[in-house]
Structures are given as C-alpha cells and as structure tokens.
Symmetry: C2
Subunit: 329 residues, 2 copies
DNA sequence: CGGCAGGATTAGATCGTTCAAAGTTTCTGG
DNA sequence: CCAGAAACTTTGAACGATCTAATCCTGCCG
C-alpha cells in the first residue's frame, strides 16, 4: 500500500510550503494564480484528501450535522422522514457537510446526546424535526448557542430560532379551492384533535377557504386519531347523515385511505384528498398534497451553513406544498 | 463559558499523568484499582469527554460507520430502510459507534464516495443494503480490505464477505404451513418476476412447503412487478378461473394490499398474507411476515465490531422472520 | 540487605492540519 | 534606483489524544 498522502507530500511535490497548500484549499484568492495551479495539479496527481480529523482538531469544527432518526410511527407517514433525510444528506454533501444520525427515547436523553456529540465529535449543528409546545431541546441548544434549525415551526410564539416549514394551511386551502372549482359545495375535513400545531394549521386552510366562499362549515369537521380505520369510521358516519359531503379533505394519507374505503360503499361518489403524498397514495391513485421535502431539506442546510459562516440569512422559511391530482378528486 | 476539559485537566485534578488517564479509558485493567477510581471521579466531576478528533488522528480510527440512504422507492416498502437505519443507529451507539449517511446515484458514484469518506473521515466500516448480482461495490471494498457488511445475501456464490439477511423462504414457508393447518389446500403465490434473489427466495418457501404437503402448485403462481394495482389485477384474474385459490401468499405488502381489494369482491372469502409487515399492513389488519429489522441491524453492528476488533465471528447470519397474524388469514 | 522482576506511572514524540507571525519577493511611485 | 507597500510564501507552535520508551515503585528471593 502506498504511503499516506499528507499536506506535506503535496507541498514537497509542488515545491511550496505546507501553508501554501493549506491556503490553496481554504483561501485560494490569496495565492498567486500560477502557484495555485501547480499545487492543484499536485493534489490531483497524488489524490490528496485533507484529513478531516486533523483539520477538526485545529479548527474545532467537524463539518458534521446531526439529525435524529425516529422509529417509524404508526400510520403510513414513515416515508416522510425518510425522504427528508435523503434530501438533507444530498444537500449537505454538496455544501461539504455530512449527516450523522442519533436516536433518543425522550427529550432528556436527547439533550444528553447533544452533550455527547458536542463534546466528543465537535458537532457543527443540529436539525430537529417535530417540535412541540414548550420544547426543552430548543431551549437547551439556544442557551449554549449551538447552531440548529427545526423542520417545523415553533408553535410557541416566543421561540425565535431558525426554522423551515411547509405551509399546511396553504395546502389544504389549495385542495379546497380545487374542489370548489370542480363544483363541490359540501366539503368535509377529516383531521386530528385540536391542539397539535400541524393539525390545526391544516384545518385552518380548509376552514378559511370555505368561509371565504360563503359556505357554512358546521358539522363538516371531524376530529380523530390518525389511522386508516379511524378515517373509514368517520367518513362513513358523515355519509350517513342528512346532506352528506360530496368531498373530503384529509389531514393525512392514512385518514384519506380510510375515507376512500368508506367512499367506495357510498351511494354517490365522494372526492377524497390526502396529505403528504406518501407512496401508498401514488399506488392507489389517491390525490394528495405533496410536501416539498427535498426543498425543505435544502433550505435547512442553507440556513445552517449561513449560521455557521456568519452570513445573515432570513431564518424563517415557509414553503408551499403542491397538490398532486390523481383519480380520487 | 468554562475552559475546555482535556485529558490534561483530568490528569491534573486526579494527580496523575495524562497517560494514566488514557489508560483508564482504553485499558482499565493495567491501572491500579485506587488510581482508577480517583481518575474516574475526576472525569465525572469535570464532565470530561475524550475528543474524538484527536483520538482519531492518532489511531486512524473514527468510530464512524457509513450507510447509504436511498430515496424511497415506489411502493410502500420505504419504511423498511427507515426501521433498519433506526436499529442500526441504536445498536451502533451502544457499541460506541455512530452512523454517517451518504447518498449516491449509481455504483460508480458510490465507490467515489467510499474513497472520499475513507480518505477524509477515516471511516471504519460500511453497511451496504440491497446487493445484486456482480456487485462492483463489494469487490472494491474487499480489494482494499475495508471492513463492511451487507444486509442481504450476495447472490453470487463466489462472494465470501460477511452478510446478514432474513430468510424469506422460511417466512413464506411458515405462512404456507399456517394456511395448510387452517384447512386451505389451493394456496396461490403472488410474486415478482424470476431473477431477483429476494423474490425467488420468497417463492421457494411457498413452493417447497406446498410440494412437501403433496399439493400441486401448477397454475397457482403469478409473477408481476410490485404494486397495489398489479396485485389486485393478478388475484382478480386467478379468482376468475376454475378452482380458484382460497388463500394467497404475497411477496410484498403492496401486492397483498391489492390482493385484498380483489378478495373483497370475491364470491368466497380469500385469505391474504403479505410480506414486510409495513405500517400499512398493521393499519388495515393485513397478516404479514415481519422481518426482524432491529435484530438484523444489531447483527450487522456485531459483525462489524467483530471485524474491527479482530475477533472471529461467524460472518454469515440468517435470521428467521415472524408471521404476524391479523384479520386477513 | 542488595538485586531484580514486573507492574504502575511518567515524559517526550507524534499524528496532519491551521494559526500567527515573520520572512521574502514583486510592484509602485517619486 | 530605491524606499515602502503590497502580495505572496515560509516557519514554528498548537490542537488533544495515543504510542514508545524510560523511570519509579513494590515485593520477593537469595
């Protein structure tokens, strides 16, 4: 095996000093054109790669971003995190960062892990998903001035940290408008119990659009836990009443899938639209609201690199989802 | 902010030398009981954490394992990788390793990434998922003696690298036996086109069990691409023939979900069993074969740590999946 | 009581990079 | 042609751990 290629090897070959090689890598503009070319040739010829550990030891920065991976929750929404992670890894890569995973059972353990990762690996930043009211994690990180971004708005107004989110209300509003445009008037909403930021947001888009169109939403909203069986039960129940809805907007694909089964047995056709555009939706032809996960991941990385390089970036990004029309609406 | 805690800080506080502290961490048995206790107290009191970068620079080992994250494929099987990753991260953590993600569009790019990761980050090992016939990646890694494990058997007999896999044949055999026990005789198999190692394996379990029970499998096997629509089409077709099957074993939950829809409209009830036990299966009450993903991930880590520490471990692990019975069989 | 084996501990060098500061060359204008 | 500035390059130290080799104990045997 060939001997290790270090910055000194490159320097010797290019007839310059170590520091000049380092400058070519980290501050190319201060090196004379011709010298730089010579060094770059040597780097290519030797296949030199800067040793990350040595660099990290000197600079205290690891070019590593940590993300928590959660066990797939019940329901069919697991693939959302999957796609987000993929996007994150890809964008981070392009920006010269890598993604490190960690797990945690609860908030306390997660905070312990932050401490570990920061102490041992000099982690540069964290990406948090699924923030909730009064999240202790963001407080801990903010207090120590650790750069981080959340995917998901902080639902407490006082939290001023950077975040990226998808505008759920805009998504359901778009769905509702589409249904109105295609002639529907009695449009129901199948969502989660009030109190979750995400769920309330998605409901709001439907409610405001309906109200703006001069329609009454009374009796058209159902709240239930997430799940296929739950969705089926609720829509079946709605359809059994007087003046049943002709269309239903759902807060998730799981609910929508259930609704679809209930709709199948209905007297009149019922349009169904889901949320998240999971693979199942694509498979069964369910129309759904698609979150721009790759874009969201990219913006997370943008925000982080901005923070890390001290560039001022707008720290709040709200992305608009897209409605994917298939057979069911 | 408090000054950084290094091994020297600990040494001073415990009234010993740096090396003794290092020994307490890396070779506790050579340190005298009482000294060790004193050092451990100092470590705890100061909240010392060994700097990974410095250790890595000296030892050339990063305690980092790389895993490729793939974009979610079509179909509902995305959560499989998700769960595997979660298990991997958790077990690796317990063994003192962390998981690093990378992406790649094709094999060449992936090999380029290996080079990068090894050169810059001193990666300790790789976990590959989804190997195929004549995989260039395993060859590249083996040639350079980089430790790695694949999740999935190599389907070329000549590849001798360590692997962990789930015995698909055992899974479908178990399903078939269960169906036989509950009185079924005409049991169909809905699978993928011949040629994929995984698919052929799953088919074999059904076929041998049927044959062993003295039953004829002629006309009971269907091959199709993965997908819900495909599953529905094939079972509908099977049910339309003379002597239709009373039960069907599927190579995936996607196919099973489709089959379930076809079965719903059938004259006689048809038992359906899927494969992978995805969250959708749980949601709709579909019986399915559950891969022990957490265990598989754990065994991957075991194999890798074994390789890294030079301990001889049996390098081929075949795990048996479990049949999860729900409403559909 | 001296010598010696062997374990426990220490001191110094080292990994590959970047920082700080000093050194050298090149350019500009009087 | 030279002083002074600007641009570029070099040198030595430092980051925080581990490795090697040397030193210090301690107990045991002759």
């Amino acid at each position: 095996m060939a001997e290790k290629v270090t910055i000194a090897t490159v320097a010797r070959r290019a007839q310059v000093s170590r520091q000049t090689v380092s400058n070519v890598l980290n501050a190319p503009h201060i090196v004379r054109e011709e010298t730089r070319r010579r060094v770059e040739e040597a780097i290519a010829a030797l296949g030199y790669r800067a040793n990350q550990a040595a660099r990290q030891m000197r600079t205290g920065r690891s070019r590593l971003i940590a993300v928590r991976i959660e066990p797939t929750r019940d329901g069919i929404n697991g693939s959302v995190l999957d796609r987000f992670l993929h996007g994150l890894t890809e964008t981070a890569d392009a920006a010269g960062y890598r993604v490190l995973l960690y797990t945690a059972r609860d908030d306390d353990q997660e905070i312990g892990t932050y401490d570990d990762l920061l102490g041992a690996y000099d982690l540069d930043a964290f990406v948090l998903t699924g923030t909730k009211h009064g999240d202790p994690r963001t407080a801990w990180l903010a207090e120590r001035e650790v750069p981080f971004v959340t995917f998901g708005r902080p639902w407490d107004a006082l939290d001023g940290h950077p975040w990226v989110d998808v505008d759920g209300a805009a998504g359901t509003a778009q769905v509702t408008r589409h249904l109105l445009d295609t002639g529907h008037r009695r449009i129901a909403f199948l969502g989660w119990p009030t109190g979750s930021g995400v769920g309330d947001d998605r409901c709001a888009g439907w409610r405001t659009t309906m109200t703006a169109a001069g329609l009454d939403v009374a009796g058209l909203r159902r709240e239930t836990e997430d799940g296929i069986a739950e969705g089926e039960r609720e829509l079946r129940d709605l359809l059994a009443r007087d003046a049943p809805p002709t269309a239903v907007v759902c807060a998730s694909d799981s609910l929508a899938l259930g609704a679809l089964q209930a709709a199948r047995g209905a007297a009149a056709p019922v349009a169904v639209v889901g949320f998240d555009d999971t693979p199942v939706a694509a498979a069964v032809g369910l129309s759904s609201v698609s979150q721009p996960l790759a874009a969201a991941a990219a913006r997370c990385v943008d925000l982080l690199t901005g923070l890390l390089d001290g560039q001022p970036t707008d720290p709040h990004v709200l992305l608009t989802p897209a409605l994917v029309l298939r057979h069911t609406a």
